[in-house]
Symmetry: C2
Subunit: 161 residues, 2 copies
DNA sequence: CAGGATTGGTCAACATGGCTGCCCCAATTC
DNA sequence: GAATTGGGGCAGCCATGTTGACCAATCCTG
């Protein structure tokens, strides 16, 4: 008996879904691995980079904002922030409106280190954009946005300024 | 003095690169988190899923093929395969041509479990494909392929049968 | 056939980066 | 004055990665 598959668009069938899952896995893996060497040179790991990245991206963001972005526990983030502060890459100051808040910023040294790591990401991503062609980039963004839940999307978009 | 940036295409400038990095991070994170509940129900983690996934995808693949795909050490994979075998989700048999090889396969139970987990991935990815539109999917694939080094691309493509 | 290369398994030991539970303080808000 | 919020910290656990060494079976080649 023939497959009782309802008339679903070709691009929603299992092989196309699996292809997306796999490319996403391998693409993400290779991109993140591209900065591991630079990190371990300085005795740091990916957790440090994620914090550095978002602090670079949005200076003066608060600890709780960063917690929401990273979706980890206070404890895990605390360890990382302590280390980054001790190494002189991150500094904090009290919030103006609410003095309980700690506003996070990179020091000059932190900025330089983040820029160095970003260069590796930039090179890889730019090569991928170029090889795929300008027209592909919009599709790349659109599918990834679709993977992000509604409520989180605003937070991610809010990085862009 | 004006920025001495060479005439690089708009889509290769820093904001567009950062946008890609961030969407890739959040998209990947949310997709992988979507199966964590199903995994921890059975006391397993993502490492188990990755092995299950690729064994499902390419039955009778060898341990060394799986090692190359996962890019982890023999030790790490060994632990996972032992647990999956003990739980009756994976079974091995000796290779025909080369009897040193262990060909990996899912048991019926393993197949069912992988299918259950895949359903969550399928739903999320299909929703993303749909919301982005069919035209976006090709771009999504193309950029991700560009992130994967030449030599690895063949291995990934080889999953598709 | 002998000897080297390949495939796989195993051990001990350690690092990273998540997690929970519990407690604390200061600042703000009600 | 009480409750909430933002931040911090300790102890300890777990999952999953790492290195390095070593062994056994098998295959391949001179």
């Amino acid at each position: 008996m023939a497959a009782p598959i309802p008339a679903s668009p070709l691009f929603l069938r299992e092989p196309e879904i699996r292809r997306g899952v796999e490319l996403l896995y391998f693409g993400y893996s290779h991109l993140t691995r591209s900065i591991d060497a630079g990190l371990s040179d300085k005795g740091m790991g990916r957790a440090h980079h994620r914090a550095l990245y978002f602090i670079a991206r949005k200076p003066d963001l608060t600890v709780s904002e960063l917690l929401k972005l990273l979706a980890i526990t206070k404890q895990s983030l605390g360890r990382v922030l302590t280390e980054l502060t001790e190494r002189g890459l991150v500094e904090t100051r009290a919030g103006d409106r609410d003095r309980r808040q700690r506003l996070l910023r990179l020091t000059a040294e932190g900025t330089a280190f983040e820029a160095e790591l970003f260069e590796a990401l930039r090179a890889k991503m730019a090569a991928a954009y170029s090889s795929a062609g300008q027209g592909a980039v919009g599709g790349f963004w659109a599918v990834l946005e679709g993977l992000i839940p509604e409520d989180e999307r605003a937070r991610v978009a809010g990085l862009g300024r």
